[in-house]
């Protein structure tokens, strides 16, 4: 028996903290265009390299390069840019409304807009997303979702489609392929797999898309989703948004140190990609690849989207307590809106003027929607759904004991 040194506990730390810059070299990057694009019927085990590389299309000059550069049509790209800008404008206004106490809470997706929006545009009607609270882009990318109604949810007012029951941002839009958001992390990831299994059981052609954050991958339902998706070859895209942070904890606390979240997929027998989440073209191409695999019954794909949570976790958070204040400015993958704009201008599909006009127009659009929504009430003015509705929808039909309780409340 050899003598050993005393053991000690390793507790991972980010390289940067307030007052000390982050050294982003911990992020393994690949040059734009450098990563291969296998056929969609590749074997999961053969995606092993892709789980450690980084699929990128847009290079530093805004050119689309390499095997994942698929040249989606210009209208789609313009639509995507507009939706990203709309989302950012929307977030900014809602943050102000929250500070004005018109709503109790808000969560923005600043810096992560490309992921949800390019992904939404790569899906088909009827597909179902199981999002987290940071995929408002899935809704705002669509023309069939009324922004006024969305804001009414945030304001918990008379027209809140969720009857005031949910925290702001916990939307539910079945008709827009957007599953009801849960406050409990990760639960939707395995539900997405179940939805995909159901589609396969019924011989349907619709697919599911599940979402989770880097931090929440430590929850059981992440593992469960990978296991069930693999076992039954479910038609599902398993999206992991690695924005480097989970409230105050760095992605290494979730298990990102010296490995990737995509690598977990490969281990479970799932085709996996690691993709630049701030590169609209890469997101669109990878989402299409995964959707095609699912729809051709080739099974699930796990995609780790590498991005950065540019803002606070939520309106209850103050990131200056745990990370450098200007961290995002140094993040090597940049700003998704700036990058797509640069590309579109480079290919002559956009201009600085059009950008400024669009920005103005979107600001007006969001302001108008907010104004209309506020007519139906805000949390501050107490103009909300009646207390009697509190007792509905617990069950399909209200049991006697809830009737009695409603009566007792006198509503």
């Amino acid at each position: 028996m050899t003598q050993h040194e005393p053991l000690h506990l390793h507790v991972p730390e980010p390289t940067g903290r307030p007052g000390r810059h982050t050294d982003f070299s911990y992020l393994r990057l690949s040059p734009a265009g450098a990563v291969r694009r296998p056929p969609v019927d590749t074997l999961p085990v053969d995606t092993s390299d892709l789980a450690y590389e980084l699929v990128r299309v847009l290079d530093d000059d805004g050119a689309a390069v390499g095997p994942w550069a698929m040249q989606p049509d210009r209208e789609l790209l313009r639509k995507g840019l507009r939706a990203m800008m709309k989302t950012r404008v929307f977030d900014a206004r809602m943050l102000i409304a929250q500070r004005q106490k018109k709503m109790s809470f808000y969560m923005q997706c600043l810096g992560e807009e490309a992921i949800a929006i390019a992904h939404a545009l790569a899906l088909d009607p009827g597909d179902m997303c199981f999002p987290t609270y940071r995929q408002q882009g899935l809704l705002l990318a669509r023309d069939d979702v009324d922004m006024v109604e969305v804001i009414c949810q945030l304001l918990s007012n008379q027209h809140d489609p969720l009857k005031g029951r949910q925290l702001p941002v916990m939307y539910s839009y079945k008709r827009a392929g957007f599953f009801s958001i849960s406050g409990n992390l990760a639960t939707q990831f395995i539900q997405a797999v179940g939805w995909g299994m159901a589609s396969a059981i019924k011989g349907d052609t619709r697919i599911a898309s599940g979402w989770i954050g880097d931090g929440a991958t430590a929850e059981a339902d992440f593992h469960t989703a990978l296991t069930f998706a693999h076992v039954y070859r479910a038609p599902v895209i398993l999206n992991v948004v690695n924005n480097q942070w989970a409230i105050s904890t760095f992605q290494a606390i979730a298990g990102g140190e010296a490995t990737t979240f995509a690598a977990r997929g490969v281990g479970c027998g799932i085709a996996s990609l690691r993709v630049d989440g701030n590169d609209f073209l890469a997101v669109y191409a990878a989402s299409q690849w995964a959707a095609e695999r699912a729809r051709r019954n080739l099974g699930p794909t796990l995609i780790e989207w590498v991005t950065y949570r540019a803002g606070p976790h939520s309106t209850s958070d103050d990131p200056s307590k745990y990370r450098p204040a200007d961290d995002w400015a140094h993040f090597p993958l940049g700003d998704p809106i700036a990058r797509l704009r640069q590309h579109l201008i480079a290919i002559g599909a956009w201009s600085e003027g059009e950008h400024a006009d669009t920005q103005k127009q979107l600001e007006a659009e969001v302001a108008a929607a907010q104004k209309e929504a506020e007519r139906y009430g805000t949390l501050a003015d107490g103009n909300m759904r009646s207390a009697a509705e509190m007792f509905e929808d617990v069950y399909k039909d209200m049991p006697e004991h809830l009737r009695r309780q409603r009566q007792q409340l006198g509503v």
Partner: protein, 354 residues
Amino acid sequence: MKVDTETSADGTAAGTRSTPMTMIQALRSAMDVMLERDPDVVVYGQDVGYFGGVFRCTEGLQAKYGKSRVFDAPISEGGIVGTAVGMGAYGLRAVVEIQFADYFYPASDQIVSEAARLRYRSAGDFTAPITIRMPCGGGIYGGQTHSQSPEALFTHVCGLRTVMPSNPYDAKGLLIAAIECDDPVIFLEPKRLYNGPFDGHHDKPVVPWSKHPLGLVPEGHYTVPLESAAVFRPGSELTVLTYGTMVFVSEAAARETGIDAEIIDLRSIWPLDLAMLVDSVKKTGRCVVVHEATRTSGFGAELTALVQEHCFYHLEAPVERVAGWDTPYPHAQEWDYFPGPARVAAAFKRAMEK
């Protein structure tokens, strides 16, 4: 006879033949009927596919309906319930098995935070019409992890329905009602009753269901409505509120004490048939609550509270509770733990004395 009066309002069971069935056969028949009638019904869980379940409740169903309707699942209760919720969002009705009720805990987040809350939080946009079957209860030397009765935990979770049949007839009718119900239903199966009514006298030979009238089960579709209790044994001196195995144990206690107890089998534990309970207690003025689960914060606490709230001025004596001790279910001392006829009889006597 009870069987006839229980036939559901839509009368679909009328005209179908009845056959003697064990509770296992009755449960299998319920799933068979529903797989046949509704293409959106699927059945899965650990060992339920090819093998037909460790208690054989799904035997033959995979062969009959194919592997995409009846299949084996990984050993992940959370995954089983989580996928069922997702399937519910799609439009299927999943009937899943948790191999033993003792193993539902890894699924508790999906049950409590998801299945139970989905309709409410989405204001009806999405629902989880799922049925979660779990064998429960002791009496088979299963030790502390094959004997639990966790029903009380589910009754504290709004949005869930909790059901426990005590006989083959109810088992089939309630399981069909559960599968057809648009709410998530926790369906607890007292495994000590799978093969015959068990009155708690473990040292006596077991009588099979084929010898009991409630073992006669219609072959076709019928339901026993949820939220309806049954008077298992009418009586005038004392009301017993119970369910599952303890229905028979209570009957034995009534027989052995000669006390004319009215035994009410809740069948639906929550939401429940309060009117029947209250009427009975008002009539008898005495009440004993009996369950196998541990006593503290067991469902007997809620029943006791409800009775004293609704029948306070009719009660001649405190409501007595007979329950499992507040310890894990021990293996060797199983019959000291199990609240058998002697303990129930003693409570009857205490309730009558006062």
